[in-house]
């Protein structure tokens, strides 16, 4: 049974946004996460790498409430116990996740996709007669610039290139003003140029949002130049600046040595 630690809330440093400790998840005896601990500070950009099966996606699932851990503590800023909330509750706290598969609506334009993302929770009446408030409209404008799709705002999302669709989806997360952005392999399937632009985009967001990127493209991780957590067999193998990680013999052994 999960060890709920109500006392941990008051121990939490106010700069800490996300706190995982001793998180263990087993599937039929296989430990996908083995006593994982991770601390994320407000405004931080963090990349998590690791070979396949290291537990990256399971970790995302635990944070978003999709998977319940067998043991451990998962706290959000202010000591909110995420293990007590369901997926919707966690999403409402402001934890937004971009999945690997793009989830944009092909038949709607770029702008309509972004508007739809800001209208969550609107009543039917407001959806019929309501208009976007100036603040949301401005946020959408701003986001269109940030994701570089301002010129394509009236284009149907289905006509966008793969990379543009991914950026649109990141935009749909951003307009919801998340307190924590989880990006699951954001550059999977992207061309080199698209990967470079995605790195630029994430670096632009740095400082304004707290971002956790799961990725195994090492070149991309180097471009981000952020603090790196290396997972291996459900545990943290190493953590530190990207340069230090690259020269860590243990990391080279299990992961980088093969690439």
């Amino acid at each position: 049974m999960a060890e709920h630690a109500p006392a941990a809330g008051r121990l939490l440093d106010p700069h800490i946004l996300l706190y995982l400790d001793g998180v263990t998840v087993s599937f039929d005896g296989f430990k996908a996460l083995d006593s994982l601990s991770l601390v994320l500070e407000e405004g931080e950009l963090r990349t998590v790498i690791g070979p396949n099966g290291a537990g990256k996606t399971t970790m995302m699932d635990v944070i978003t409430g999709k998977t319940r851990p067998d043991a451990g503590v998962v706290l959000f800023k202010g000591g909110v116990d995420l293990l007590r909330l369901d997926e919707t509750g966690i999403a409402r706290l402001g934890i937004g996740r971009k999945f690997q598969r793009p989830a944009v609506f092909d038949r709607l334009t770029v702008q309509e996709n972004l508007e739809l993302a800001t209208q969550g929770g609107w009543s039917v009446r407001r959806l019929i007669a309501g208009r976007l408030d100036a603040q949301s409209a401005e946020r959408i404008e701003h986001t269109l610039e940030t994701i570089g799709l301002a010129e394509l705002r009236h284009e149907e999302a289905g006509r966008l290139a793969h990379g543009q669709r991914q950026w649109l989806e990141i935009g749909m997360l951003l307009v919801q003003q998340p307190r924590l952005v989880l990006l699951d392999e954001p550059v999977a399937g992207m061309s080199d140029a698209e990967t470079a632009k995605t790195a630029e985009l994430i670096l632009r967001l740095k400082g304004r949002h707290t971002i956790l990127v799961v990725e195994h493209d090492m070149h991309f991780v180097r471009t981000l130049g952020a603090k790196v957590t290396v997972l291996h067999e459900g545990k943290v193998l190493a953590e530190g600046p990207v340069e230090a990680i690259q020269s860590d013999p243990a990391v080279v052994e299990v992961y980088l040595g093969r690439s």
Partner: protein, 381 residues
């Protein structure tokens, strides 16, 4: 919300054009001299009125199927319930003029040896009450059905099947004499509506114009819905309901709203259909009748403003013509038309028009361009 780049006057123009087209019937009937080739005889007026009622029904189905991806194969039930509510009013208007000359009881009740009016026939002697029931009965049934189905997340082909079951169950119930709705004969032999003789050319033209007004209203609702944020949400629900939910949208409420609205429109269409055809019977509840509505929409073009109207007019025009000349051929033509449209023109008539407009260098109509769902998608609903 940014204004559509196509300008705000487009829907107004469209409604104006449809309004002018609707007026062709009264013009050809009343203003064109009788010896002219363009003169329309009185007996054709209710036929066109029937087509317009079908067009409203098609628009109502397209709201849920084309826009929100909910393929109802039971929309005939809401149409028939609205029709029965109107029929009950028309029966009560007959009064002592029936064959058995009973002051209150309709003929079929006298025939069944009933002594008094069943409680659910109370109030139908008043027009306003009947109109209230035209809206409330289909609306309430749709709301309850939708709430149960959508809450349990029944969708796709399973939902289509239970809508068929719904209309089939109602057909069996209405066939029973004990139900008190005239059994398999239904309600007929109407005399007048609001004091006007129901078969007089003037009343028929008025009913035609009322149906035309309802069609314009239905189109205005459809246009407004497409432009509102709700219209986008419905597209999102159609193409990925789980994702829409993930964005924080209450998809159950949005679906329930459009579903109930659609049923009310279908009920209103049924209410105007009945006085023009002069009868309502349980065959309107038949599953095949409901499937035909889906064919009109598919032929006309799903998720387009005018497509369902064109589909309803074309298919029913063909039906009138073929069942008159080659009745045994009609079902083959209908089936063949559906297969042809599904495989070759998935965008329907409106899709063909859109492609044509595109070819000659004009911008395609919104909603038709790029709307080419695969046959698999059509089959899936």
């Amino acid at each position: 919300m940014t204004a559509s780049p196509r300008g705000p006057s487009r829907p107004a123009l469209l409604l104006f054009a449809v309004g002018v087209a609707i007026l062709l019937v009264p013009i050809c009937n009343r203003l064109v001299p009788e010896d002219s080739a363009f003169h329309l005889e009185d007996r054709f007026v209710p036929l066109f009125g029937k087509y317009l009622a079908y067009a409203v029904l098609a628009v109502s189905l397209d709201l849920v199927w084309g826009r929100a991806g909910i393929l109802s194969l039971g929309h005939g039930a809401f149409f028939a319930l609205g029709g029965y509510a109107m029929g009950m009013y028309l029966m009560r208007q007959i009064g002592p003029r029936g064959v058995y000359a009973h002051p209150i009881l309709p003929d079929f009740m006298v025939f069944l040896n009933w002594q008094e009016l069943p409680w659910y026939w109370y109030g139908f002697d008043r027009f306003w009450f009947a109109m209230f029931m035209v809206v409330v009965v289909p609306g309430t049934l749709a709301f309850l059905f939708g709430w149960l189905a959508f809450r349990s997340r029944v969708s796709g082909v399973y939902l289509s099947i239970i809508t068929q079951a719904l209309t089939f169950a109602l057909m069996l119930a209405f066939f029973r004499n004990e139900m008190g709705f005239g059994g398999n004969n239904g309600l007929t032999d109407f005399k007048d509506i609001l004091g006007f003789p129901i078969a007089s050319p003037d009343t028929r033209l008025a009913l035609y114009l009322a149906t035309g007004a309802l069609l314009l209203l239905a189109l205005a609702v459809a246009i407004q819905l497409r432009r509102a944020p709700l219209g986008r949400l419905l597209v999102a629900i159609r193409d990925g309901e789980a994702r829409a939910r993930f964005l924080g949208h209450d998809t159950l409420r949005a679906k329930l709203f459009v579903w109930t609205l659609s049923a009310v429109l279908a009920g209103l269409a049924g209410a105007l259909y009945v006085p023009q055809v002069g009868i309502i019977n349980p065959s309107e509840f038949s599953p095949a009748a409901s499937i035909e509505i889906a064919i009109w929409v598919a032929v006309g073009g799903r998720d387009t403003v005018l497509g369902p109207v064109l589909g309803a007019l074309l298919v029913n025009g063909m039906k009138t013509w073929l069942t008159g000349t080659l009745p045994e051929l009609w079902l083959f033509v209908l089936g063949g038309l559906f297969v042809l449209v599904t495989l070759a023109f998935p965008g329907g008539l409106a899709g063909i028009a859109g492609t044509f407009a595109h070819r000659i260098g004009r911008t395609p109509r919104p909603g038709t361009a790029g709307l080419a769902p695969s046959p698999a998608e059509v089959a899936r609903g």
